[in-house]
Symmetry: C2
Subunit: 229 residues, 2 copies
């Protein structure tokens, strides 16, 4: 009866999917399960904790553990670094800078990045290619108040994402995904027609409660994000 936490987790999940413990029902307590599996309570605890993280069950002190009514809670999507994403498909990665300009942040951007009036930002437009085909269009604004050294960085050769990671490797991020229509410029860069629907990823990066950079990544036509579980 010696059991690993993986075996216990699989067994409990099996009982749930098999219908022995239907949604909403109460699962036996940790001590009881530990005894029936011939394992320590810590081992059962780990199995149960992971099932709770996976959104399968719900745990509460005193009341015990219940099977969730609706199991599909959240999905993880990989947010890959574009270079890797492309190279992992066996394509060659190429980067190109379209434009680079230091400007005073316009109102809409100041609001979005929570910047003080008059703050300067570096506005970059660049493209990422997989072999010859355009893969992603990047429209980025970097807070020059926080990162003045961005003025002197050579973004014709450094990929902004990679340069930024060398400056502030870890930070808080807010990611948002939506659908947008290609305007004329995007259509030209991404080799599609104006008005075509495109997926857009926006990312706000914060550091010490200040916004470092805001980026809009527009993916090539037909791009999908997929996940299994």
């Amino acid at each position: 009866m010696a059991a690993t936490y993986r075996e216990i987790k699989a067994d409990i999940l099996g009982r749930i999917t098999r219908g022995d413990w239907p949604p909403g029902s109460l699962i036996p307590g940790e001590m009881e399960l530990a005894e029936s599996y011939g394992a320590a309570r810590a081992t059962v605890n780990r199995a149960m904790r992971e099932l709770a993280e996976d959104g399968i069950i719900e745990r509460k002190r005193k009341s015990g553990t219940r099977v969730r009514m609706s199991p599909l809670r959240q999905a993880r999507f990989d947010i890959p670094v574009v270079r890797r994403e492309i190279e992992e498909q066996g394509a060659a990665y190429r980067y190109a800078l379209v434009s680079s300009e230091a400007v005073v942040a316009p109102d809409w951007l100041r609001a979005r990045m929570a910047l003080a009036a008059g703050t300067e930002v570096l506005h970059l437009v660049c493209l990422h290619f997989a072999d010859a085909a355009p893969w992603q269009h990047e429209d980025r604004w970097i807070n020059l108040g926080l990162l003045p050294q961005a003025r002197d960085a050579d973004f014709a050769t450094s990929v902004p994402t990679e340069w930024l990671m060398s400056q502030i490797p870890f930070s808080a991020v807010e990611i948002s995904i939506s659908a947008t229509a290609a305007d004329r410029a995007l259509a030209a860069h991404l080799d599609c027609s104006a008005g075509d629907p495109l997926m857009m990823t926006e990312r706000l990066t914060r550091w010490n409660d200040q916004t470092v950079t805001y980026v809009r990544l527009v993916h090539r036509p037909g791009h999908r994000m997929t996940t299994r579980y």
Copy 2:
């Protein structure tokens, strides 16, 4: 120096963000950290395991633990049940069935769902409203070979998702997100113009290696999925 795994995790993360341990560098071993925090190795292990799950560090036996080069690996998005999503905003949820029809699966669907030739499917079209406003358009196909009882279910009153969960509560799922353009019918249902860009979520649900249902959920114009970390 008594420390909880949360404190240890926060402290390690702090050292990483502060730059004490830059990307790619080797972090001290569990025993060493346990001693310096005055904690048991199991406690340090839990902190480190979670940091690894979060994609901050990378662990390997024998070689030790390293800070990841690129921290942004994956993001979790909530995949809410539509009824909840709407009610949590304080709006009233309303469901409407547009059409329901049992048909032999067309070729494109057979390929996608991996069905045998001649398999019948129930094709449902329905709408989800938040107060008076259309929120989501649902186009669903249910495998009648696997779920013949779907013929007799009353989808004018039962929401398909909820009915399905009562039949097969737990299952393997493949989710995919993309951008699409509204056709005439979608535009009419979602109260927008034909050609408008819309987010679409597709979901394939499997059970015992058979596909139970395939659904296309098209979200209202302007819909976003957001996450922070």
